[in-house]
Amino acid sequence: MNDSFVHFTHADLLSIAPEIALLVAGCLILLVEAFAPALRRWFATIALAGVAVSLYFLVNAPAGTTFGGRYDTSPLTVFVGLFLGAAAVLAILVSRPYLERAGEERGEFYALLLWGHLGVSLMTRGLDLILIFIGLETLSLAFYVLAGFFRRVAASSEAGLKYFLTGAFGSAFTLYGIALLFGASGGTKLEELVRPGLGGNPAVAFGLLFLLVGFGFKMSLAPFHAWAPDVYQGMPTPAVAYLSVAPKGAALLVLFRVFSAVFQDGLPDRFRAGLAALAILSMTLGNVVALAQRDAKRLLAYSGIAQMGYVTIALVVFGRDALAAALVYFCAYLVSNAGAFAAVSALYRDETKAHPVALLAGAGRRAPFAAAVFALCLFSLAGIPATAGFIGKFFLFKAALEKGFYALALIGVANSLVSIGYYLKVVYILYMRDPVETEAPPALALADRLALALCAAGILAIGIFPSTVWEVARHAAATLPFAGP
């Protein structure tokens, strides 16, 4: 019992300064929209500034925990925060020209994006199940709305509905899982999960599995993936660029945290096998079905499902090194996947219609830069060396092989081969098919150009000089709290 009713220290404030910055930036945008609509061209700038300030505070926050051990400011969260921030920056950059083209340049889009980002941030930094859940819900609510943002477009509204219904369904399981874990551990803090024998409790097993499906849903891990293609297709592309990257990373981190808190001595065999099954199913289903896709965004959705299959291998392998590998993988995935969506956003003229891949025919000539970056992103997703994607797979498979998961690694590479089929198909359409559309596309906006350039630079930088990102990721992963030795 303290004297003051409200406990609040300076460190606490500093630690949530990044989130406050995001919140403020979002509010500022709304205020500008309400009172100075003429300044709408500055929305993106304000949003970027908000993210920048948030990242500044994030990086400068003292390492440790705050709010009585409920909030994490360790290097791990800094790393993940930077990753999320990068995704947000890319999404915002792409949003500006995208919304302009769509004639929907509204402040709410940015505000919701920022607040969704805030939610993800809470997910990754919260060391308390309920805080994680609140973060998850903040993210979800913001993105339910973003999915249906184009109210004029039926597909967008439908995406909103589907995302909402499945998302709420998944959240209910997450919540029930939290309840079970709470019942078994007596608290909502993750540290309370660190208790000998807890792993053998059936209620805990149920709770963990509920959490797994809830966060697996966010990761679009098969068989919890079904929403992703539809939602990606209907959702405004910049939001997809964010949604397809950041929450997935956050969800995996949460799973890592919870599982390593409960299972101090490594994953039980059944869990490992179950996770491996999810990984294999996800890779295989994602890749095989992606082969049959005709819509660029759906294709990328399935590709994302497959990619999550790969990265789940890290969870199977378990341990800090595996987490480091997953972090590197996510960095690679960020630049490649966000880049791909940025390219999709830049390459299609009509934002409100479908995005058939066939329409990209001849894009290599019409929009050489965007097409080149798109191709680079696809090669990276396919894991061709000298790109970031290769580095991601390199560390991932290394981690798997080190722990003796040979079959998983083999299935992984076999799947890579399948995936090349559809990645190359897109490249083929970009460069080798005669165009159906003869009209020259609008000149690439500066922001698009910047986003694409950033992604390309990221892909090549990670691909060619991976040692920095690996070192940082390893350092970050070493601070995973509550994990066993």
Binding site: N2, F5, V6, H7, F8, D12, I16, E19, L23, C27, L30, E33, P37, F67, G68, R70, Y71, R106, E108, A111, L112, W115, G116, L118, G119, L122, D128, I130, L131, I134, G135, E137, T138, L141, A142, Y144, V145, G148, F149, R151, R152, G160, G183, A184, N201, P202, A203, F206
Partner: protein, 170 residues
Amino acid sequence: MERLVFDAAALLAMLFAGVMVVSRDPVKSVLALVVSFFALAVCYVMVLSPFIAGLQVIVYAGAILVLFLFVLMLLNVGREQPDGMPRPIQTVLGSLAVFVFAGLLLGMLRASGSKIPLLTDGLDPVEMARPAELARLLFSDYLLHFEAVSVLLLAALVGAFVLARREDAP
């Protein structure tokens, strides 16, 4: 005695939950759920959470479900009509899975909670039910959560505004 009340309320809640699920008429569904939530509120009281029970009645049954009802009326959604397209896979697989799931879950819950009475170590039930303690926690240990929820509500507000606003609004 308490157990009897609790069980009766719980059964009632389940019963009306069942009605809610079975009913083809969404309005009836909502109303059934209102009843179910009232019964749940009773259960909440029985598990030493009168404050939450109040919230349940006020917020859930009173506000949220009314909102549902309102939207139903607004959209003028009628009874669910059979569309002549039976979906046996969904129905059969779904039911089957629910049964398996319920079996597993209930089995586990029964085993994990059967021997434990509520408040075994003789804590004061009155103390448990006092909202002041809740408030204290809310503004100390759960301060961050509280703030986070405010953001969530803000986002929901803006979101609902975005989606439901009139088309000609800027």
